[in-house]
Structures are given as C-alpha cells and as structure tokens.
C-alpha cells in the first residue's frame, strides 16, 4: 500500500473516530494491512479479515477462548455481515475494545450475548453460553443441573422485571450496580492485561527505535 493512500485513510478515520488520535489510527491501519497480508486489491472483492483470521487474533492477542463468544464478537465487529472485518469495522471495533465507554460496551456486550438477536437474553441462551463454565462433576446425576442452577442464580440477580429473560434494561441496571457483570456470560472484551499489552505493542512510537 502506498503512503499516500494510508495518509488518506488515516485522515478519514481520524475524523470519524472519537477515541483514537491520528497516530493511533495510523498504527491500527498499518496493523490491519499487515494482518490481512498484501492481497491484491481488486474491485469487487472485499479486503478484510475472515472469520478464521479474526478468531485467531482474538484468541492470540486478547486471550479469548470460548468459540461461541468469539463467533459472536466477530458478528459484533462485522457490522455489514459480509463475513469479513474490513478496515473501517476494524477501527471501530477496536475503538470500542480499547476506549469504549461503559454505555458502548454494554450495548456491544448485550448484542454479543443476545444470540438470536431478539432483544432479550433468554434462559436458553444463557444456558448455551454457560454450559461449559462449570467443571463436570462425574458424581452428579444430571451434569446440566449445575448449569441450570447457575442460570437461575443469574436470573435472580439480573432479571429485575421477573419476566424470565433479560432485557437490555435489566442488563443495564445490573451492570450499573455491578460492573463486574458486564461480561456476565463470557469474556467478550479484552481483559485489561492483554489490552495493555496490545496497546503497548501496537502504539509503539517508531521514533523510539531511532533513539535506541
């Protein structure tokens, strides 16, 4: 990619993006193209990270392990649903990941957890997301009992209107009371440590090397 185009892209995104400065946008774009590889840019083909590549990034860089959640995160990034995360989706996604406000993050997380996108997190969805969260006790008769119980506990904690499912309002209220429950059903945001590492690595000032 030529320098001029990079410059142009950077300027465009910097204008749109509230959380990153120009340098950071520049770094992220460079990273994106590094990750995508020097594919030939042809009209008609979308340039971006496909599901597998993105899954890999989430796994390696942000330490996410739950396949289902990763899948949902990909959907969260891929706004236009074309199966690829393009450069604009990349910047916006990371903007939320790294600098998002609590409100933004809540919206995003709720979308991730609302598997069928009906605006509610139902018991079934919870069960689905939590089903691997407990160590299976071989002694137990019903291995799912623990999970069901956990779902009940969660509902008791979060379902403020007692309708047996979580609306965004329920979720928001809970999270405002207890921020820890933002990622209640699985890690869908980078944990603080990997976030710091990522930022340190990506936003490295190139001049630093010159000094050394």
């Amino acid at each position: 990619m030529n320098r001029k185009k990079l410059q142009k892209l950077t300027d465009a995104f910097t204008r749109n993006c509230k959380h990153f400065n120009k340098f950071e946008v520049n770094c992220l774009i460079t990273l994106f193209y590094n990750l995508v590889g020097e594919g030939v840019e042809r009209p008609g083909t979308v340039i971006g990270l496909d599901r597998n590549a993105f899954r890999n990034i989430l796994h390696v860089t942000f330490g996410m392990t739950d396949d289902m959640i990763i899948d949902r995160v990909f959907r969260g990034f891929d706004k236009d649903n074309d199966g690829y995360v393009n450069v604009s989706e990349w910047i916006n996604g990371l903007s939320l990941f790294l600098r998002g406000s609590l409100e933004d993050k809540m919206k995003y997380c709720f979308e991730v957890f609302d598997l069928n996108g009906d605006g509610f997190i139902s018991k079934e969805e919870m069960f689905h997301m939590l089903k691997n969260s407990l160590l299976k006790q071989p002694s137990e008769e019903d291995p799912d009992e623990g999970i069901k119980d956990l779902v009940e506990i969660t509902l008791k904690k979060m379902d403020h209107d007692h309708d047996g499912k979580l609306s965004f309002a329920d979720y928001e209220k809970t999270v405002r009371e207890e921020t820890l429950l933002l990622e209640a059903f699985g890690p869908c945001l980078p944990d603080p440590k990997s976030q710091m590492e990522f930022e340190a690595q990506v936003f490295k000032d190139p001049n630093e090397f010159n000094d050394m």
Partner: protein
C-alpha cells in the same frame, strides 16, 4: 510404669555407660510417686504384696547389712530375708553391694529400712531395671508392646484359671494405674516449668538444627553454638556469666536476616552485642527485648522462620487432629471395661474405685457376671471369635491414649509457650480460645442451619468448579447475601469459601480478584474471619496486590487490609511482607496530574486510592514497629499533605493514623515540623464528630510538647476545644476533647485562655456522671488549672472540691493519680484545705498511700504535702490517722524513685511538728533516709536532703545520720547541677555539721570547697546554709589543727619538761587571738595523761586560769569523759 519411665522420665543421653536417670525435679517427682506407691502397697493390697516376682529386681545398693534387723538373717556381708518362696529361696537377698528383691512386701520393707536414702535406692533400682514390669510379671506383660498387652493378659486369664494368673492380672492393672498416674503427674510437672533451663534450650536448639540447612523449606540456614565446650550443668556460657543465669550463646543465620548473635539465659532469649572482632569474644550486653524462648525470638526476628515454622505447625496440627479423632471414637464403644475406666479417669480416686471393682469382680466371678468383667465372661461363653477383633481394637486404642496425651501434651506446651508470647504482644482476644471455639461453631451450625448456609455452600461449589464467567456470577451473587451478618460470614468460612476467595486473589483474573476482594472486605469485619484470613496466608497476597496497576484493586486490597489488620499478628504480617511501604506509596496520589474525566472500567480515582491507603495505615499503625515503618517509608509528609484536603472521609483515616502514631516521640517532632497542628485545629471546626474526635485525640497526644501547645493556641485551637466541651453526648469525643484540654492546659497561657472561655466551670460540671475515660482527662485538666490562684478560686466557688474528693475513692489508677494531683493543687488554698479536711479528703489521700500502684502512692504523697503544710493543727491532724506515720515511713522502703521523693517531701512536712518527728524517729526514719542517700536522681536528692535537714532537729538524729553514713553521699549532691538540690543539701549539711564527726566526714569528702562556691550563689537560703555549714566545719578543723600542734608541743614538752622556755612559747600561742579557747582546751587534753609531778608550775597555773572560764570547764569535763 513402663510408659511413664520410657517416655517421661528424663534419661541421661545415651552413650554415657549404663543408663542413668538425670537429677531433675521431674524425675525426682516420678521417683517419689513410685516410692509412695510401693510403700503403700502392703497396706492396700496385702495379698498382692506377697506375690513373688518372676525375676528378682536386682541392683547395687548402698545399704549396709547392719541396717537390717528383725525378719532378716544378717551376716557380715550377706542378708537374707526370713520370708521365702515356695522353693525356699529368700525373697530378699543382699550380698554387698548387690541386692535382689522378689516381692512388693520386701520392696516396701526395704524402702522403710532405707529411710532417708529411699530416693537413691529407688533410683538405683529403676536404673538397673529398665523394665520392672517384665521382671515382676514376666515377659507376657511387657508394657512396651502396648498394643497387644490387654489381649495377652486376657488371654492368660482364660488359659490358666489359677490364682497366680489372677494375681498377676491384678498387679498388672495396679502397675498400669501407677503408670497413668505418673504420666499425669509428670505432665503437671512439665507444665510448671516456665523458666528456661539448659536442657530445654538444648532440646530447642537440637530441634531447630534438624530443620536447618540450605533450601527453602528449612526454618533457618544455620544455628551454631559459639562455644563447643559444654559444662557439666549443660551450660556453655563461661562460669562468670552463668551466675547471671546465662546458658549459652548462639550464632543463628535465618534465611532473610543477617546472622544474629543470641544469648539464651534463664530469663529468656535476647540479642547480644555480637562477636567482637579481635578474639572472638562476645559482647554480652543485651541489645534487644527478652523473649520467652528461642522459637518466639526467631519468629519475631525472621519472617521466613515464622512462615516455615507455621508450616511445620500446620502439619503437626493436622496430625494432632487426626489422633484426636481417633481418640474420640474410642469412648463410643459400648462396653466399658475396667481398663478403659482406669484410663479415662486420671485422678487418684480411681485407684480406690478400681480396687473396689477388683474386689467385686472376684466375688462376681463366683456369684454373677459383673458388667466390668463382661469381656472376660464373654470369652468364657465361647464368643471368642466375634469379640476378639473388637477387643484387639480396644487394647490398641486404650494404650495409645496415654502415649499420645503425653507427647501431644509436650507439643502443646511448646506451642502454648509460643502462643502465650504472641498473646502478650496482642491485646485482642487470645487465639487459643478462639481455636477452641472453632469446632463449636461448626457443630452449632450443623444443629440448625439457616437456608443461607446451603445457598452459600452451593455458590462456593461454583466458585471452586467454575471458569471465570461462572466465578464472577457466583461472586456477584454471593454479594447479594447480607455479608454483614455473622451467619453468612461464618457460613462462607465453614464451607471452605475463604480458601477459595484467597486463592482467587492469586490468579491473573482481575475481575475475579475484584469480586473476591469485595466479599473479603465485607466479611473481614468479623474478628474470627480476620484471623482465618491471616491463618490462610491471605495478607501477603493482598499486600502484593497493592502493586497492581489497577487502582480499584489497590483500593479494595487496602480496604481489606484495613479490616484484617485489626490485631497485632496481622499488623506484623503486613509489615514483614513490606506492606507498610506499599501502603505509604498509595498515599502519594499525584494531586496535580489531570485525571481522565471518564474513568475506565473498574478504575478508581487517585484520591480514593489514597483514602484506602490511609485507612489501612490507620489499622496498621496500632503497633510500634509499624509506626516506625510508616515513618521510615516517608509517610508523615504524605499524611500532612493529605490533611490539607477537605474530604471528610479522607481526613478521618489520615487524622486517625496521625493520632495513633503521635504516641511516638519521633512523630510528635515530625508533626510539629510538618505544620500538621494547624490543620488539626482547622478540622476541629469540622462538622463531623468522628473527625473532631480524632483531631482532639491527636492534639491530646502531641500536646505533651510545649511548642505544640503554643501552636494550638496560636492557631486558635483552644476555643473550639472549649466549645466542644459543651456537647457531652458523644462520650468518645468528649474523652478526646477533655484529653486535649488537659494536655494543653499544662501551658499557663492556655489556662488563661480556657478561663476566658469559661472552660473551667464546664470542666467542674463534668466531674459527675461521666465515664472514667472522660473523668481522667477532666480531673487532669483541673489539676493543671489549679496551679493558678484564680482558677483555684473558681473551682472552689463552683463546688468542684466535693466531687473531686468523692473521686478519691475510685479504683482507676490513672484517675486516682489525676485526682490526687488536683486535690493536692487545691489544698494550696487554706480555704480549700478546710473543705477538703471537712470532707475527710486528707484521710482518703492518706489511705491511697496503701494503693498498690506506685504512681498513685507518689501522687497521693505529693498531694499530702500541701495538706499538711497549710492545714491548721497539722500535727494534730497527722497524729489522728492511726498507723499513718508508720505507713508513710515504711514507704521509704519502696524502690520507686517518684514514690520515694514524694514520701520524703511528705516527711519533711510531717517533721515540722516536733511530736510527729519524734514518732517517725521511733519508726526508724533515720536509717531509712540514710539508706536512700546514694542516689543520682535530683528530685529525690532534693526532697531527701530536705527531709534529712528536718529530721536532724530531734534528739541525736544528727549523730545517727552520721552513723548511718548519710553525710558523704550528701556532700556529693553539691556536685549536682540543680540549685534546688544545692539549697536543700546545704541546709541539711548545715544541720548535720552541728555534730563534729559529721564535720570531719564532710571535710574528708571535700565539702568545704563545694560549699565555698555555694556561698557565692545568688540564692540567699543557699548562701546562708552554706556559710553556716562552713563555719561549723572551720571551727572544728581549727580546733583539730590546734590540737595537733599542741600535741607536738606536748611531745616536745615531755622531752624537755623542765625547760622553762615552754611556758613562754605556750603563752605565745595562747595569745593567738581568735582561737585561744580551742588551743587551751586541746592543751588541757594533751596534758591530762601526765602526772602532776611532771607538770611544771607555770603550766599548772595556766590550767587553773583556764578552769575559770565556764566554757572550758565544761569542755574539760567532756574531754575528760571521752578520754
């Protein structure tokens, strides 16, 4: 007996030839018990006493054959008992020095014959027969093979039904009872040993040596004696140090500290000055506190040691628990055999009880099967096979019991010792108590479990077995329980939640850590949980979290530490893991740095971090070492900076920390230097009561210092203090405020201010219906105020004397000290003393001289001084207290300097009355005062000298002081720097110098030169007294001088007695103007031994002339008498 002998008796270490019992109190006690047993055997069990031992007990005796008389066949070197066994062998056979005894009867007789040497014989017997039971009963009864004994015995009974078998059985049981008794006895004995002895120290060191070496798990790197040579008494210290109770010196290298050079002495263990470089000598001087034992000492010095030690403890604890469980199982068995009874009860009474059982059982065999013997009967009923297994079990368990109890007993004792010192350090509830409480709680919980218990148990299960998502849900859900409630707190602990929560802190999961800390923070309000958290090693992990980059984590960790570190041990752990430095670092919130407007997820503000840090420091600052650590970590400037903020919730912990720390001198200086007082005063005006309280408390602590008191005034702190007095609802605050007023009123300027603010009237109003903490301070403040006349008047007019005198009957030591001081200060007014006297205050003061606390005694005696001084008819009043004078004179035997000084002052006042002086002289005041003379304390010197000078005024007290060697030390007082001492001393010397012998002593001690300096003093009293004293000394000195001169003349005169020149020369001397009389007097004295015949005429005339003067006549007589 076997068990006791092998386990409990202290055998001399192996390898020293034949086994020997050490001469220790424990062994002696055991031997004595054995002797009593044997001696009483023939009376209690006459049948069994005739039993012939399987093998004789054989040993070397010191008894002479001649000691044996009736009942024995005695020859030169051989003694045989007349009593013989079936085969005609004598039951006692002595062939000097070897003795063989084959029955208890003979043993008993022998002990009787041995008389005073009983103990020696018993010892020799036990030493020679390490296993007496086997010898007595045969190898089937070998007690050492504990597990099978019971079975064997029972077996035997079935097999041979004969009389001998039964007899053996019985003796075996009796011996077993003795054994048990001995064990109990020795246990009691062990528990009495508190002082360290060489043996205990040696064992400790050997034990530690075993656990020392390189590597992480060992408790120490090395532990060595400084000296290889061990004296016969087990000490390694050189003999001249042994006199001081020192046992040995050690070089200990812990993992984490420098090599320590330690002295082990009978009083305890302490750090000495270390090896001096040159010859490897040790600087024996004590350099640190004395600890109870080596382990406690090392625990304090080395964190690593205590950590690894507690690991050892833990493992042994587990073992102990297991054994306990086993033991508890045993009694559950249905059948209770006599054995078990004998073992479960331990006191002597069982001995008799069992005897009855024996008797019964014998009968029962004939009549009906008794319960006690059911087992045996069962055997007979051919149920052997079924019962055997059970019986075997029984035997094993039963015999295990005494063993474990003894070994555990020792272990417990050791640990108790360690714990005790820990308790000594911590004021809070004792740990051992709580440990005992623990299982109770669990049992209770089982009895009636609330529903929360099960829910929490479920959540903990998810915590244990869930991934981070489930963990976070479980943590959040757990927080919905009322964690302030004790049931929930204990439920979390009891289902093992604490361990999980603490483990979570050690993970990388920020969210889990936050969740866990939030719960720990809540439940650590409970004192038991705090201790559990410390026991589980939670504190070091939390201290590490303080380094975390996440501020909210730091906050939570600091807050939890603040809760947990409420007791000493926790505070120590925090310090030892570097927590103080980290907490102080939290205080350093970058105030100027712009904080992000929007806080990122899970983050907190710097101010909040600082607040939590201050909170934790507040908790930690209750221990001295931590205060030091805070100071060294640079905490004071940071605290001072935080004090400038206006957040109340920040100010409270900051001021709280300062207030705790202000008990240290270093801090007070720093507080002054950092201009903290100003802010404290400012915060006095805050609305928050707690803040006011802590500020007042901090001022109270700091105002010991004069400059600080002035600062408080200059910053206008007195007015708010006076204002806060009016609000009496909050007692804690009132106590702090009155305390601050008390300390501030030590400065006169402040008192004036307080008078302006009408604080004195308010204080008088607070003399009634207040808790003691408040009263102490109020009375203290009044005591200070009373130093001024106007205030005394105010107090009298407000009716303050009555309540003050009423408080004299209290028991609170601090209160009494202050009350006596205040009453004493009031008594300066003649009008007040009337009131005090009428209210019987003087008598109350006098009776406080009997108070056990020296401070109270001293204060009461000080208060008595103005009472006696200012009262009308003081002499009569003093005499009216029956036994009062004797009491006060006897207080001169006290070893407290302040008491002595005050009593001297009181005596000075008492002695103003001649009659009383006579009485106290009879009570021996002179020798007691004289004994005190060798002191360096200027206060005591002054009052002592005053008392002496007063007491000189009676009878031959002057001479008596000289006889009791009080004069020379008094002269030394003149070298003191204190003018008050000089004056008092000069007066005392003046009084004493009326006696010539005292003058000589003074002169010899160089008093004249010192006194001459005093004459130049601007103090008139001092001048006068010094001059008077000098003149007395001078006069005598002159006389002596002349006497010596004359003596020379007389010698001369003896030689040339008929030489008429002498007359002329004597006359010349006689004409010497000022001291003619002295000269003459001396001359007469010198002349007296001479025969009239020798005396030449002119001299005789002289003599006659001299006699004309009445002064000389009396002198003549005096000298005559003395010579």
């Amino acid at each position: 007996m076997g068990v006791a002998l092998t386990r409990s008796a202290q055998w001399v270490a192996a390898g020293h030839g034949p086994a020997a019992l050490e001469v220790t109190p424990l062994n002696e006690a055991i031997l004595k018990e054995i002797i009593t047993f044997v001696e009483s055997f023939i009376y209690k069990h006459p049948q069994e006493a005739k039993f012939v031992f399987v093998e004789p007990l054989e040993w070397k005796t010191d008894l002479e054959p001649s000691a044996f008389n009736s009942g024995y066949v005695v020859s030169e070197t051989i003694v045989k008992s007349e009593e013989v066994d079936k085969n005609g062998q004598p039951l006692l056979f002595l062939s000097v020095p070897q003795i063989k005894v084959r029955s208890f009867r003979q043993l008993s007789c022998l002990l009787f014959i041995a008389g005073d040497t009983k103990l020696k014989e018993a010892q020799a017997c036990i030493e020679a027969n390490r296993d007496p039971v086997v010898k007595i009963l045969g190898s089937d009864y070998n007690i050492k093979k504990e597990d099978s004994t019971a079975l064997n015995i029972l077996d035997k009974i079935i097999r041979d039904d004969d009389l001998e078998g039964k007899m053996k059985m019985k003796i075996a049981m009796l011996l077993k009872q003795l054994d048990l008794h001995l064990l109990n006895h020795s246990l009691k004995h062990i528990s009495l040993e508190i002082r360290l002895n060489p043996l205990a120290v040696k064992k400790d060191i050997e034990l530690l040596k075993r656990f020392s070496g390189k590597g992480e798990q060992t408790v120490l790197e090395s532990i060595e004696y400084t000296s290889e040579y061990e004296f016969s008494n087990g000490c390694r210290a050189p003999p001249w140090r042994q006199i001081r109770g020192e046992i040995c010196y050690l070089l200990v290298k812990p993992h984490d500290v420098e090599t320590l050079c330690i002295t082990c002495s009978a009083e305890g263990v302490f750090l000495n000055g270390g090896k001096t470089d040159d010859e490897g000598d040790i600087d024996y001087e004590r350099k640190g506190a004395v600890y109870k034992d080596l382990v406690t000492f090392l625990r304090e010095k080395s964190a690593k040691f205590s950590e690894n030690m507690s690991k050892q403890d833990l493992s042994s604890n587990e073992g102990q628990q297991k054994e306990k469980d086993q033991l508890e199982e045993a009694p559950k068995k249905e059948e209770t055999t006599t054995f078990q009874k004998a073992l479960s009860d331990s006191d002597k009474s069982t001995l008799e009880k069992n005897q009855i059982n024996f008797g019964k059982s014998q009968m029962a065999k004939r009549l009906e099967p008794s319960l006690n013997w059911k087992a045996t009967v069962d055997y007979k009923d051919h149920k052997i096979s079924r019962k055997e297994g059970q019986e075997e079990k029984h035997g094993g368990k039963q015999l295990e019991k005494p063993r474990t109890s003894v070994s555990l007993g020792r272990a417990q004792l050791l640990r108790k010792g360690a714990e005790k010192t820990e308790e000594f350090v911590s004021e809070s509830s004792s740990e051992s108590e709580e440990d005992e409480e623990l299982p109770d709680h669990r049992q209770e919980a089982n009895a009636d479990l609330p529903s929360e218990y099960w829910q929490i148990q479920k959540l903990v299960k998810y915590l244990k077995g869930g991934n981070q998502t489930a963990t976070v849900i479980a943590l959040c859900s757990m927080r919905d329980f009322n964690l302030a409630q004790e049931t929930c707190q204990l439920a979390i602990r009891d289902v093992g939640g604490l361990e999980v929560l603490i483990n979570l802190l050690d993970t990388d999961e920020v969210k889990c850590k936050i969740g866990s800390l939030k719960i720990l923070k809540e439940i650590s309000q409970n004192p038991q949980i705090r201790r559990n958290i410390v026991d589980l090693g939670g504190l070091p992990i939390m201290v590490n979290i303080l380094d975390s980059p996440h501020k909210s984590l730091k906050c939570l960790a600091a807050e939890t530490i603040a809760n947990v570190a409420k007791f000493k041990r926790a505070q120590r752990v925090v310090r030892q893991h570097g927590g103080i430095t980290k907490l102080v670092a939290l205080l350093d919130c970058a105030q100027n740095s712009t904080e992000p407007a929007q806080l990122s997820l899970y983050e907190a503000r710097d101010v909040e971090v600082a607040r939590c840090g201050a909170q934790a420091l507040w908790s930690c600052s209750k221990s001295y070492a931590n205060k030091e650590a805070i100071r060294k970590a640079g905490g004071i400037p940071l605290l001072a900076r935080l004090l400038k903020t206006s957040h109340e919730n920040m100010l409270i912990p900051v001021v709280g920390t300062l207030q705790e720390c202000a008990s240290e001198e270093n801090y007070r200086a720093a507080i002054k230097a950092e201009r903290i007082i100003e802010n404290l005063v400012k915060n006095l005006n805050s609305e928050n009561e707690e803040l006011q309280e802590h500020c007042a408390m901090a001022i109270y602590q700091c105002a010991e210092d004069k400059e600080t008191r002035d600062l408080v005034r200059l910053h206008g702190g007195l007015k708010p203090l006076a204002r806060l007095l009016n609000n009496t609802d909050n007692k804690e605050r009132l106590a702090a405020v009155t305390g601050a007023i008390w300390k501030c009123s030590i400065s006169k300027e402040n008192v004036t201010k307080f008078r302006e603010y009408k604080a004195i009237e308010t204080l008088v109003g607070l003399l009634t219906d207040q808790p003691e903490e408040v009263l102490v301070n109020v009375v203290g403040a009044l005591g200070e105020c009373c130093q001024e006349y106007e205030n005394r008047v105010i107090i009298r007019k407000c009716g303050g004397i009555q309540p003050l005198v009423n408080l004299l009957v209290g028991i609170n030591q601090a209160l009494l000290v202050n009350v006596t001081k205040a009453v004493g200060a009031c008594a300066v007014e003649p009008e007040s003393i009337m009131i005090i006297y009428r209210l019987d205050g003087v008598r109350l003061l006098w009776s406080l001289l009997k108070n056990p606390h020296p401070d109270v005694k001293a204060s009461a005696a000080w208060a008595l001084c103005p009472c006696i001084e200012n009262a009308k008819d003081a002499g009569e009043m003093v005499r009216s207290f029956v036994g009062g004078l004797e009491l006060i004179v006897n207080l001169l035997k006290s070893d407290n300097k302040e008491v002595l000084a005050s009593v001297c002052a009181a005596i000075t006042n008492i002695a103003k009355d001649q009659e009383n002086l006579a009485v106290i002289t009879d009570h021996g005041v002179v020798p007691l005062l004289s004994k005190l003379a060798n002191t360096n304390n200027d206060k005591l010197r002054r009052h002592l000298a005053e008392a002496i000078s007063r007491c000189c005024m009676w009878g031959r007290n002057r001479v008596a002081f000289g006889e009791h060697r009080a004069v020379a030390p008094l002269v030394r007082y003149l070298r003191s720097d204190d003018t008050n001492v000089h004056r008092a001393t000069a007066q005392a010397l003046y009084q004493l110098s009326e006696d010539p012998d005292n003058c000589i002593t003074m002169h010899e001690n160089g008093a004249v030169k010192l006194l001459l300096d005093m004459v130049g003093s601007p103090d008139q009293d001092l001048q006068e007294a010094a001059a008077g004293c000098i003149s007395n000394i001078r006069r005598l000195a002159l006389a002596t001088e002349k006497a010596r001169l004359v003596a020379r003349w007389v010698q001369h005169f003896q030689v040339h007695r008929r030489n008429s020149n002498i007359q002329v020369e004597i006359q010349d001397h006689g004409s010497c103007s000022e001291s003619r009389n002295f000269f003459r007097r001396s001359f007469i004295t010198s002349m007296l031994p001479f025969d009239q015949h020798w005396t030449s005429r002119p001299i005789r005339i002289k003599l006659k002339n001299l006699m004309d003067s009445p002064v000389n006549q009396s002198n003549f007589r005096l000298r005559h008498v003395t010579i």
